[in-house]
C-alpha cells in the first residue's frame, strides 16, 4: 500500500486510576479504509476511541492525523480538522427536537461566531433537513430527541456527525442495542453514507456480521494490546483470535 497514513496511533498508553487499559497500542489507518477494532468486553476499544478522538488524552504515545500530531489537541479542534464521532450509547441533545439537534450541528459546521439572529440561516436549515433525510428521520424532525426510539436516536446522532462532513468518522458500536433487522439496515446505511461522502471509517463492533459486512481491515485488541491486524479473512483465520474469542466466550 502506497497510501500515506491517514490516522495513526503510536505506542498509546492509557490508565485509569485502578487499571491500565491501553498498553502501547499502535495502528495505522489508510484513507478510504473501513477499519474495525474488535476485541472482547473490556479490551479497551472504547478507551482507544476516546484517545483517538480527543475525549481523553493518552498518558504516553502519539496520535497523528494526515501527518499532523494531534495528540494534545482537544476534541473540538480535531473535529474541525475532519474528525467525526458517535458514541457507544447514542448521545444527542435530549430536550431539543430532532430538527434543532441537526440545526445545532449545521450551525457548528459553519463555525458561525456569536449570532443574535433568531432563525437559523436558510442554508443551515437546508443542511439539517438534508441530513435528517439521509437517515430517514425527516418525518420525525419535530419530535423531542429524548422521546425518539433508540435506533432513531442512533441515526440522529449519525446525521449530526455527517452534517460536519467529516473525513474520518469514528463509530463506537454503531449497531449496539438494535434489533437484527435494524442492524442489517444500519450496515447498509453506513456503507452507503461512506460511499457517498468519501469518508474513512473507524469502528468498533461486537457483532461479527457487522464487522465483516463493513470492514476491509480489522485490528484485534485484547487486554489493551493489538493482537493482530489484517483483512477480515486473515483475522478470521488467525488461531490466536479464535482462542481469545472462544476463551472469553466460554469464560
Amino acid at each position: 500500500m502506497s497510501r500515506a497514513p491517514f490516522l495513526t496511533a503510536q505506542a498509546l498508553r492509557k490508565s485509569y486510576p485502578a487499571v491500565t487499559v491501553l498498553r502501547g497500542v499502535s495502528l495505522s489507518v489508510a484513507e478510504g479504509d473501513s477499519f474495525a477494532v474488535i476485541g472482547p468486553n473490556g479490551a479497551g476499544k472504547t478507551t482507544l476511541f476516546k484517545v483517538l478522538s480527543g475525549e481523553l488524552f493518552a498518558d504516553a504515545g502519539t496520535v497523528t492525523f494526515e501527518g499532523r500530531d494531534v495528540t494534545a489537541m482537544p476534541a473540538w479542534q480535531r473535529v474541525r480538522l475532519g474528525f467525526g464521532r458517535t458514541f457507544q450509547v447514542a448521545r444527542v441533545f435530549p430536550d431539543l427536537t430532532a430538527e434543532d439537534n441537526a440545526i445545532v450541528a449545521a450551525e457548528a459546521a459553519r463555525r458561525g461566531g456569536v449570532s443574535l439572529a433568531w432563525w437559523p440561516a436558510r442554508s443551515v436549515r437546508a443542511a439539517a433537513h438534508a441530513a435528517l433525510n439521509e437517515v430517514a428521520l425527516f418525518e420525525r424532525r419535530s419530535h423531542i430527541a429524548r422521546l425518539l426510539a433508540y435506533g432513531d436516536r442512533k441515526r440522529l446522532e449519525l446525521a449530526m456527525s455527517l452534517i460536519l462532513r467529516p473525513r474520518l468518522l469514528m463509530l463506537d458500536e454503531p449497531t449496539a442495542g438494535m434489533s437484527p433487522p435494524d442492524r442489517a439496515a444500519s450496515v447498509e446505511l453506513i456503507a452507503a453514507l461512506k460511499q457517498r461522502h468519501g469518508m474513512t471509517l473507524v469502528l468498533t463492533e461486537h457483532d461479527m456480521s457487522v464487522v465483516f459486512g463493513l470492514a476491509n481491515r480489522v485490528a484485534v485488541l485484547n487486554h489493551g494490546e493489538v493482537v493482530t491486524v489484517g483483512t477480515p479473512e486473515e483475522v478470521r483465520a488467525n488461531p490466536t483470535v479464535r482462542e481469545i474469542y472462544l476463551g472469553s466466550g466460554h469464560a
Partner: protein, 321 residues
C-alpha cells in the same frame, strides 16, 4: 402571548406611580432590579448549566463601578457610565472565567465563584474610597441629556421610569440571547457538553461567553441599584446576596425563562408581608420558600402548569383510560 403579557406588565410598571404610594413604588423598583438579577443568573444556569454561588460579585462591581465613575467624572454622559459599569462586570467575568471555567465545572465553579464574591466583599470593606462597611452614600440620580431634551432623573418619578425602561431593555437582551442561535448553542452545551465538543463546538468558550453576558447584565442591574437606594454596602457582594437570584429561580421555576421574575415577585411579597415580624421575619420567609420549593420542585410556574394539567385531566377524562 408572552410578548403581550410582558408588554402589559411593562405598561403597568410605568403607570404604577400614578396609583401607588412612594413606599410601594420604591419596592417595585427593587423588584424590577431583582428580576433582572435573577434573569441573568438563570441565563447561565438554564442555558449552559453553570451554577454560580457568587453572582452578587458582578452586581456589586457594577454598583460600585457606576458610583465611583459617576463621582470621579461627573461630566460623563450617564448612559455611558451605565454601559461602562456593565463592561466592568464583563471584563471581571472574562478574567475570572478564563481561570475558573478551564476545567473546573460543577461544584468547583460554584465554590470558586463563591470565593470570588467574598473577595470582592472584603475589598469593598477594606477600601476607604468605597466607604468600607459604612457604605457608599450620596449616589446622585443623573441628568439625561438626550439632545432634544434633558431629563432630570432626580425629579419626581423620573428615575423610577428610567429604571423600569432599563430593566425592560435588559430583560429583552437576556430573552433575545436565550432564543438566538447562540442561545441554542448554549443550550446544546448544557444538555451534553461532550456531544457538543464532537460537533466542533468550543464548549469552554461558549460557557465563558454566557458567563460574561450574564455578568454584564448583573453589573448593569447593580449600576441601576445604586442611584435607586442611594447607598451601597459590602453586603451586596456577599453570598447572602448571591443566594437571591438562585432563590428567585428555584422559587419561580428554573425551566421557564420567566421563572426568576415570578420568584422575585413571590420573594418580595413575602418579605413585605413579614416585614413587621421583627426577628422572625427572615425565618418565616426562609421556611415558606423551603416549603414551596419542596412541594413544587419545578417552582411556582412548574406547580401552576402541573395544576392546570391536572385540572384539565380531571375535567376531561380520557375515554378508556
Amino acid at each position: 402571548m408572552q410578548a403581550a403579557a410582558a408588554l402589559a406588565a411593562l405598561v403597568m410598571a410605568l403607570l404604577l406611580p400614578e396609583i401607588a404610594g412612594q413606599g410601594l413604588v420604591f419596592l417595585a423598583g427593587l423588584l424590577w432590579i431583582n428580576m433582572v438579577f435573577g434573569f441573568s443568573w438563570n441565563l447561565m444556569f438554564r442555558q449552559t448549566g453553570l451554577v454560580s454561588f457568587g453572582h452578587a460579585a458582578f452586581f456589586a462591581i457594577g454598583g460600585y463601578g457606576y458610583a465611583v465613575l459617576a463621582r470621579a467624572w461627573p461630566g460623563l454622559p450617564p448612559l455611558l457610565v451605565f454601559v461602562a459599569a456593565g463592561a466592568l462586570g464583563a471584563v471581571a467575568a472574562l478574567v475570572v472565567g478564563v481561570v475558573a471555567l478551564r476545567r473546573s465545572l460543577g461544584v468547583y465553579f460554584a465554590i470558586f465563584s463563591l470565593a470570588l464574591s467574598q473577595i470582592v466583599a472584603m475589598v469593598i470593606s477594606d477600601l476607604p474610597s468605597l466607604g468600607r462597611d459604612d457604605g457608599f452614600a450620596g449616589i446622585r440620580r443623573p441628568v439625561l441629556d438626550l439632545g432634544v431634551a434633558t431629563i432630570k432623573l432626580a425629579e419626581g418619578d423620573n428615575y423610577y421610569r428610567f429604571l423600569v425602561l432599563s430593566c425592560a431593555l435588559l430583560t429583552l437582551i437576556v430573552w433575545w440571547v436565550t432564543h438566538s442561535r447562540t442561545g441554542r448553542r448554549f443550550r446544546a452545551v448544557q444538555q451534553d457538553a461532550e456531544r457538543a465538543a464532537f460537533l466542533g463546538i468550543a464548549v469552554a468558550r461558549q460557557r465563558l461567553l454566557c458567563f460574561v453576558i450574564a455578568a454584564a447584565v448583573a453589573a448593569v442591574a447593580g449600576a441601576l441599584y445604586g442611584p435607586w437606594l442611594q447607598l451601597l454596602t459590602p453586603e451586596l457582594a456577599q453570598w447572602t446576596f448571591s443566594a437571591r437570584p438562585i432563590l428567585f429561580t428555584l422559587l419561580g421555576g428554573a425551566a421557564s425563562f420567566w421563572g426568576p421574575a415570578v420568584g422575585a415577585l413571590g420573594f418580595t411579597v413575602l418579605e413585605y408581608a413579614t416585614r413587621t415580624l421583627h426577628g422572625v421575619g427572615e425565618i418565616t420567609v426562609g421556611g415558606i420558600l423551603l416549603i414551596v420549593v419542596l412541594i413544587f420542585p419545578g417552582g411556582i410556574i412548574g406547580g401552576i402548569i402541573g395544576g392546570v394539567r391536572g385540572a384539565l385531566g380531571r375535567a376531561r377524562p380520557v375515554a378508556g383510560a
